[in-house]
Structure formats: structure tokens, C-alpha cells
Symmetry: C2
Subunit: 411 residues, 2 copies
């Protein structure tokens, strides 16, 4: 591969020069320091992973929203610590440049000047692009922080952005792993590639923002099949209903009632949902299926035969998960991952569950009523606890040469 | 696939009948309940993953020791809670039967009797075997627990098994994530397949043992290349030195000075090593390379050209990691994974690092002197903290029809 168009060696030098602590370049010998390295060759034994596994960073919409789900995800939330708008802009520019390079599977040469820190942390030197996507979102506190319009952008807040209101069963929500000013969703088919990206974004945030929380997740599916959650049920079947350009416009992409930067963007709703695997595993198959309203094996709703068949609401248990979701007559685009954290020292059980992520154009209409209905009635509530919560507005797709958030900060 | 030889439907019923809480079968309708399901077909778009990706459970040695490293690992440590030797045996039999089925990529049919809990948790129903391996080890406290010979097996303890003695820099070792009676190392090229196995082993331990700690890790490498750790350096290069049957006999497999059950087994040494990524990333390339004694890009030791070239100790910085490892004139078989846990709330940094795992035939000679030398002198010490520690004796390979640990418990 040739060095990517749009990223010249000079750009790298600028990137390095602005990257602060991580890359403190001296003034000498710069010309020879950095070059775009070639992406690793496709290993002959893994034809699924190739240099062609590149998801473009630029386009009408951000990648990582309707992109078919990759196997791994890191979701990281940052609080902006600088009060200086130009520092914030510097960080967002650095992030954009890093992503431009990183999603293409490139890495910078480590350095020919050994006296400075390497320009790349190096753990992906031998790895292909792995369908890496980085998706950015901005939280309510990005626009208005504890009553202060820090960056003069309160007027740029999108229509429906707010923290998810307290729900009936929210007694376990942990504020330490909820919310945040800026969210970065990094997905890839290789965990090391995903971590490399999130780690370097953290590195480039030094002095400008602090990492508030980070959560990793996985979703293993055979290509073309809906992945299963840790209760063993298929998760994301209903996405098929809007799997068309028109469908995505209806369900996912914010419309022209929004400010320009948000048109073609989407709202990310996040709930970290702990699943009580031990009680679930002691529940009969009949009760498990009645809880979801679906066959465990096939994923078909009660009364229908195939996973994607239409179904008759009256055939489903009234409080089943699928029935309630259907009753709202609203669609969302699910993009959930499973997580397995540590052993919970209080119970000896594994803290594991679902990182519920959905994208929608209007959370007030599509997501919040569904969440409220579920919290009040869902038969699944006996087996789950919501422990984290957040909402972010993800801007429209990026144009080459511009940086993420530019249409908010320089409007 | 035909039902696996050695596992009859009757065996499954026995398994179910002994599995306690998880599978409380009624007395009726048993005949129709369980069948071995076929492994998922190889998806045409992922030829690397196939039904042929089965690592046998049975053989001279346990799988997961010299097996080429899979991408994901869960390491779980259990304490035996039952005082009843026959309950312990029941659990080990259930585990063995589960593994026999599970490593072959099979799953049980969920159930035709919907009134009982499903016999399989179901999250791998659509997934292939993914090179799953389960490796068992026994800790010092399995043989002698707080001065008590609970199961009458103190005389069966292997020659070199003991907790890793306190080292000079062990002030950060957390006992909650160290040691344990029984260790299970589960590895696979798919995280959900790996988790499915560890989760079901936990399920089958109910009433007999409790999960003490669990740690997940990943290692992303292009096939045939040494994976890189989170400092961006290659990890496991020296394994090449004993990559032959004779080499493994010299380095890994316990010899005939051990009791029969341990001959052909190996000692697993585990250290959870937190890596200070933030300080590392601020270190110059020259200092990073001097710390390891290797080129970051190529992995070659100082003074040599290729990763696997022999090298002259005098060319390496005295306290470099590779130099110290070489000075002990001992070899170990490394099988390390990276981990990324949460954000450390004290520092805002990510708790990430290396799950150092090595296998050796004699830890007194091979591992402990190396660890002590490293702790006293290794230049890497400025960038790492050891936080977890354990040693387990992994028995020789299993014969079909026998259960793991049988040669210890029924000797």
C-alpha cells in the first residue's frame, strides 16, 4: 500500500508536534523519523483477515453504527479537563489524525531517532486492519457542564440529548461508570487492534481530558447469524426489520430537524446490564423462553417458525421481552456486546452481562418509552440489574481534512 | 458428526444426574431429552475456523500447554468447599465429561423437556470448536489445606509444588487473586467459546467448589509470528529454542522422578503483572529497547539481526530483561496473555498488563531463580508491578474413560 492519500509525512510531523507528552520530538533529524508503514500482509492461513478489512473513516455517516458488528469492542468515556477551547480542538485533531491512520491498518514507523518516545506504541506492528472502527459521541455535559457553557457551545446541543432519566429499577446504577463528556466506541475483529486504538486515544488525551470509564465487550457470531447473548438467546434479530437504506433513515439517522452537524448522526444509548447467570441457568427452558417470548434454539418468536418471521403479539406472554419491545411500536438499532468482568467478591459469582447499545434518531420517541416499559414490566427484570447508563450524540460522518467535532466547535 | 465415541446418551444422563443444582432432572421423559448436537458448520467466509479446529482432550500430555497459543484465555481458580471426597470426585468427573464434549465443538440439545433447565447454556450453539482447550492444575492447598490432609492425598503432592515464595518486590501481591486449590486454563480462538466452557465448569462446581478468582486475557498474533505484549515487544521468542519433542522433554514435561500422575505433566507458574503503560509510552525508544535488550521492531537481541538469532550476552545491557533471563541459563515455556481490566480509580490509568504464564518441569531450578534475579535486577521493574501469583501442578494427559485427577484421588 502507498502512504494513504490525505496523510503526508508532514501531517505526521504535525500530529507528533501537537501530541504533547507522548511524542516530545526534538528539533533535529525530523525528516527521517516517520513513515507510514505498510499494513501487515494477509497471512495465508487466515484469509478472512486481510489488508482489505478496512472500514473507511470518512463518509456520510460515522463507521461503527450500522457497520456489521465486529467481534470486540472497547467503550471509553472521557471528561474534558482543559478549560481552553483550543486545547480541546488540538486533542480532537490529534484523535482524528490517529484514526485516519489507524483504521487503515497502518502504523507509524517506530522512529529513527531513538532518543524520543516511539510515535506508535507498537503492539499492532504485525497485525492487519481487522475492520477497526472508531465512533465518537458527545454527552450532555460536553455542551453544558454543571451549569457552565465552558466552550460556548451550549447552543449547539442536539434536540434529544440528555442523560437517561432515572428509571424505576435504577437503584444499582453506578455513576462512576455512567455518562461522560465524550464517548469513543472502538470495535475490531482483533482485541489487540481495538485496544491499541483506545490506548493511543487515551495517550493523545493527556493534559486535555481524563478517562472516566472504559468497558470491554465481545460478540461472537458466525458471519450472517445473529450473535447470542450470555443467556444463550439471539440478540439483535429485530435489526433485520430496518436493514435497508430507507430503514436506516427511519430508525437510525438524525434528520433535518437537527442542527447540521447532527444530521446523519445518531444517538447512542448505553446500558450496562448485569445478568444473573446463576439464577438463569437454574431456570427451566420453558420459563427462559417465556421470558424472552422466543425459542432459544431458533430465535423464532412464539407462534412463528423462523427467527425473522413476523409474529402475532397475542401469541407472546404479555410481559415477555420481545412482546414489550414490540408493543412500543418503535424500532431501535441494537449493537450489543457481552462482557465478563471479575468475580463479584460479595457473591462469588461472575460479574457478566450485556453491554446494551442502541442507535436511534430520536431517543425520546424510540428508546426511552421502551426502556421505561421494560423496567416496569419486563419478565427479564428478575434476572438482570442495570448498573451503567449513558447517552451520547454521535455526529454525522466525517469529511477528509476536517476533525471530529469541528462542526460543533467552529460553527 | 456422529455422537462422539466414549460419550453415550446414557453418559449425558449420568452427567445431568450428578450435576446438582444446574440440571435438576425430573424422573420422566429422560430418554428423549438429550442428544449430541452437530458442531456448527464451517462458515464459508471464515475458512480459518472450521469443524477441524478441534484440539483433542486426550493424549500423553494435557492440551493447552505446548498447543500454539489461541487468541483468548480465561484462567479460573477454585477452592474446594466440600469435605466429602466423593463429591469432589463427582465434580471432577462432571468437568471431564463436559470437556470431552465441549472441546469437540459439540453442544447438547437444549432439551425436549422444557420443564427442566437446559442442559447447555446455549451461547455457543452456532459456533465452531475454535481450538478450545481446557487445562487443569492443582495447587499446594489441594493436597494439604491449612495443615489438614482433607482428602488423604498429602502423600500424592508432586516434588516441586509450593506457593511462589515472597519475592523482593512482592508488596503489591493481592491474595484475593492469587493461589487456589484447582486451576482451569481455558483457551480458544473465540472468546464466547472460551467463556462458555469456564462458565459451565463453574456451574458444574456448584456445591463442591467456589470460584476464587478469574482472569481473562488475549494474545493477538499473526499465525507464525510471536505475539507482542502491551509494551509493543515480542513475547515468547525464546520458546523457539526448545521447539522439538526432545526440547519439550527437557523444559516442560515432568520426568520419572515424579509420581506417576505427574510424569508428562508440568508446573504452571502464574504472575499477574500490571504494566505502567503511561510511563512506558513516555520513555524513549532507546530506553525501551535497552530495558528489554531487544529491538522493538524486529525482536532481535542487541548485537544480532533476527528475532531468533543467537546472541552474545556481553552485547546486552547488564540489567536488561533478556540478559537476566539468559544469565540463569535456564529455559521455561512461556504462554503469556495480555489483559486490560478497568480504569484504576486511584490514578485514572488503565489497569492493564501481562498474564505471565510459564510451564516448566522443575520450577525450583527453572523458574524461581529466574524470578528472583528479575525481581532484584530487571530494568523492567520500573514499569511493572506484580499483583497476582500462583503455582499449580498440571497432571499428565488424560486417557479416555478416566477423569481429571483420578490418578491422584484413587491412587
Amino acid at each position: 500500500m502507498e502512504p494513504k492519500s490525505g496523510i503526508s509525512r508532514k501531517d505526521f510531523l504535525k500530529l507528533s508536534a501537537t501530541a504533547g507528552v507522548g511524542i516530545a520530538l526534538g528539533a533535529s533529524g525530523l525528516g527521517a523519523i516517520m513513515e507510514v508503514a505498510k499494513p501487515a500482509k494477509t497471512p495465508s492461513s487466515a484469509p478472512g483477515e486481510s489488508g482489505g478489512d478496512i472500514i473507511p473513516l470518512y463518509g456520510t455517516h460515522q463507521p461503527g453504527i450500522i457497520t456489521p458488528q465486529q467481534t470486540y469492542m472497547y467503550l471509553a468515556s472521557f471528561n474534558v479537563t482543559t478549560k481552553n477551547k483550543s486545547d480541546l480542538i488540538t486533542m480532537l485533531k490529534d484523535w482524528t489524525k490517529f484514526c485516519d491512520l489507524s483504521v487503515a491498518g497502518g502504523t507509524m514507523k517506530l522512529s529513527d531517532n531513538a532518543l524520543v518516545p516511539p510515535t506508535d506504541t507498537g503492539e499492532t506492528l504485525d497485525l492487519p486492519a481487522s475492520k477497526l472502527t472508531v465512533t465518537f459521541g458527545f454527552g450532555p455535559s460536553f455542551f453544558m457542564n454543571e451549569g457552565s457553557d465552558r466552550f460556548g457551545i451550549a447552543r449547539m446541543a442536539p434536540l434529544y440529548l440528555k442523560d437517561i432519566p432515572r428509571m424505576p429499577r435504577d437503584q444499582n446504577i453506578d455513576k462512576e461508570i455512567s455518562g461522560g463528556d465524550i464517548c469513543v466506541q472502538v470495535c475490531a475483529n482483533d482485541q489487540q487492534v481495538a485496544f491499541h486504538a483506545v490506548r493511543n486515544l487515551i495517550r493523545l488525551s493527556t493534559g486535555h481530558a481524563s478517562l472516566k470509564w472504559m468497558q470491554e465487550g465481545f460478540a461472537s457470531g458466525t458471519p450472517g447469524k445473529t450473535p447470542r447473548n450470555l443467556f444463550g438467546f439471539k440478540d439483535g434479530t429485530a435489526n433485520k426489520l430496518h436493514d435497508s437504506s430507507a430503514g436506516y433513515d427511519q430508525v437510525v439517522w438524525a434528520g433535518d430537524n437537527e442542527l447540521g452537524w447532527m444530521q446523519g448522526g445518531s444517538y447512542l444509548a448505553y446500558r450496562k446490564i448485569q445478568m444473573k447467570l446463576e439464577s438463569w441457568d437454574r431456570t427451566s427452558l420453558a420459563d427462559q423462553e417465556a421470558t424472552f417470548g422466543r425459542s432459544k434454539l431458533s430465535g423464532a418468536a412464539f407462534g412463528s417458525h423462523g427467527e425473522f418471521d413476523s409474529f402475532d403479539l397475542s401469541k407472546l406472554p404479555e410481559k415477555s421481552h420481545v412482546s414489550l419491545a414490540k408493543q412500543t411500536k418503535q424500532q431501535i438499532h441494537r449493537r450489543a456486546y457481552s462482557y465478563t468482568d471479575k468475580v463479584d467478591p460479595r457473591t462469588g459469582n461472575i460479574d457478566a452481562g450485556l453491554l446494551f447499545i442502541s442507535y436511534q434518531r430520536n431517543p425520546d420517541e424510540q428508546f426511552l418509552p421502551m426502556l421505561k416499559l421494560m423496567q416496569n414490566n419486563d419478565a427479564l427484570n428478575s434476572y438482570v440489574a442495570h448498573v451503567g447508563s449513558a447517552m451520547f450524540a454521535c455526529p454525522a460522518g466525517l469529511k477528509q481534512g476536517r476533525y471530529i467535532g469541528q462542526n460543533i466547535l467552529e460553527a
